[in-house]
Symmetry: C4
């Protein structure tokens, strides 16, 4: 009875909706400066940079969410709850972004911001483990699954280090976080072989 | 003529969209405090807690909405209207959340907040009954349907009691509501046997 | 070549998304009053009523959008543009709602609000005609199509009359508009026979 | 293994969600004027015009996104990243719209606004090239693809010229941009033969 088993179609649709709103409402936090001309653009440089960092962080997690969910045909209750927890913590990002913009990248505010990124990474790790546990019952995990897991744990350690460093060198910690986020866009960090194969495969679109 | 019968595909997509926006715009209500450092985090404790409660309340209803809608292949006009009523009342939650945050969990504001949760629960009960009525014409209701119905009525009574208690002990009523919301995350409260079966079943993903 | 012909799948998904955001962001316009207790609820009565009216207006159009789009398997460029125009004018509703709430239901503001509803109705009429024109090339229009068309023209006349009356009796015009919007929820106004049939039909859910 | 290859279903759903939020939140930037009656409408003329321009700009890109994505059955990592970049830059449009409204169409603000449109056009060109590169490996590009490419490059040059002219004649540059955006609604500019064929074809809706 396929209609009784929780297929991840609505889970994906709901996640896409929540992530789409999160990634977009952050732009509402960028306030129009009171100054005119080039001076106003200079004032916008730092809010817009932080916005772009938050956008790409969310975008990278959306890409990884897509790759993770493609692994499973069904989603048990554990995956559903881990997914809600991930969305819940990710939804704090617009606030953290507004916080660090408002406090102008002070040490404390930057640490709060990077902690949010770390907490989202932990929630995604839980989601990843919930999917692995769900998969494990019916098929073997692949090498890719473990590479993704390893890379995520490494990046969590870097987030934690950046968060600690933020108290002393906030702008350096912010730059390190931005660099790490950009790295996650590259496919071979999270799903090395899938990306190669998918370039070659011509799958039929439903 | 399948295209003429109102299949719930768009109903689900629209509901997912509305719930995704509701669950996310609430975070816009959390204002950046004027204080600095740890003091600012302490001021955020209560707005963030209420936000998390509203998030999980909405998330739990989304999970239950998903389970309820999986029961039916078609959606008559009654189900459509009951669904719109549910979304309408749920959409008041961001305002109620802003209200209780702004009034700092006073007795009256907490009662208003918990009343909103109660009113959403009543609307979901109507939606549940509309789906049961729709189903009843062509198949027997299962034991699960009645367990879900019973549990929802019990939780509505607890919301009503918490709402009344909020006038005297607002923070205790808030904590009770939070606990009740957490309970709804557990699968065996609303769909005990479906969840067991779905863990075992390997349904084909469309 | 089905992939080249503009199937309305994304048109529906995009419309659902836009309508879901429109219907939900309106609640952000309801401001928390500065007064306490029951007094604050009394101040909320009129913003919340207007919000509910806007919600059900949008909800009724979403229902009709769903019924209209189910008539066609493909969507030509004319339907796409008419749909964008409909969404464009509907997206002005959150502003109109904020406007009439801010101006406290004065004659002029109510006329502006009801004019927005009228303009949305005109855009939906254009969308309906675009779909009919698209359908006409390959199948006969049904009696239902003409009933829907007639009822919409009648309701547009009532909106126009309410808009004119709003200058003199704003609250009466508002109540008339609310009543008309509620009527559109009833299925036999827009698609009398489809709704009967769909209650009887057990279509297979995809 | 179709489930392993990145089909653009979620890419489309996510893009639809993000574009739906972008196109709708812009209306939140239109503030209710403090004046009354017709005077207030006159003050709204210019914010509402700019809002409508931003709406149709976004709507035209959504239409083109839909046509572009229909060309491919799969989406490699390059397409995914180009799509995220396009959404990222498009998400700056609500801010640019708020900026030019707040600065009341001064030369500098208009140049900033038109630059945003230009930057979005560049990102869409990159997305188009990423899709062409992806397609090129398995099928020949059609005449339509090159017409779309040529027209987009021409319109980018016009945006660039309007942006430069905005410093001297902001309102004229704005009008030229609006005219260009309206032209993009016409189908034969971007996909001349597809639109003709699709009018004739009766594709089966999934």
């Amino acid at each position: 009875m396929p209609e009784e088993s929780p297929i991840p179609a609505r889970l994906e649709a709901f996640s896409d909706g929540v992530i789409a709103v999160i990634i977009t409402v952050m732009v509402l936090e960028i306030k129009v400066p009171h100054t005119e001309g080039w001076q106003s653009l200079r004032e916008l440089a730092s809010p817009v940079s932080i916005y772009l960092l938050s956008f790409w962080f969310t975008g990278a997690y959306w890409l990884n969410h897509q790759h993770l969910m493609r692994r499973t045909r069904t989603a048990g209750h554990g995956v559903q709850c881990a997914n809600l927890l991930f969305l819940c913590l990710l939804s704090l990002l617009p606030f953290s972004t507004a916080y660090v913009v408002d406090k102008q990248i002070t040490g404390f505010a930057t640490a709060v911001y990077i902690s949010t990124l770390l907490v989202v990474a932990v929630a995604f790790l839980l989601l990843r483990l919930a999917v692995h546990r769900h998969l494990h019952r019916r098929q073997a995990l692949t090498r890719d699954d473990f590479i993704g897991l390893r890379n995520q744990i490494v990046s969590m350690l870097i987030y934690a280090a950046s968060g600690a460093a933020a108290f002393y060198v906030p702008r350096v910690a912010m730059a390190a976080t931005g660099l790490l986020t950009l790295l996650w866009i590259f496919p071979n960090l999270t799903h090395p072989r899938t990306s190669e194969r998918s370039e070659a495969a011509v799958g039929d679109r439903k």
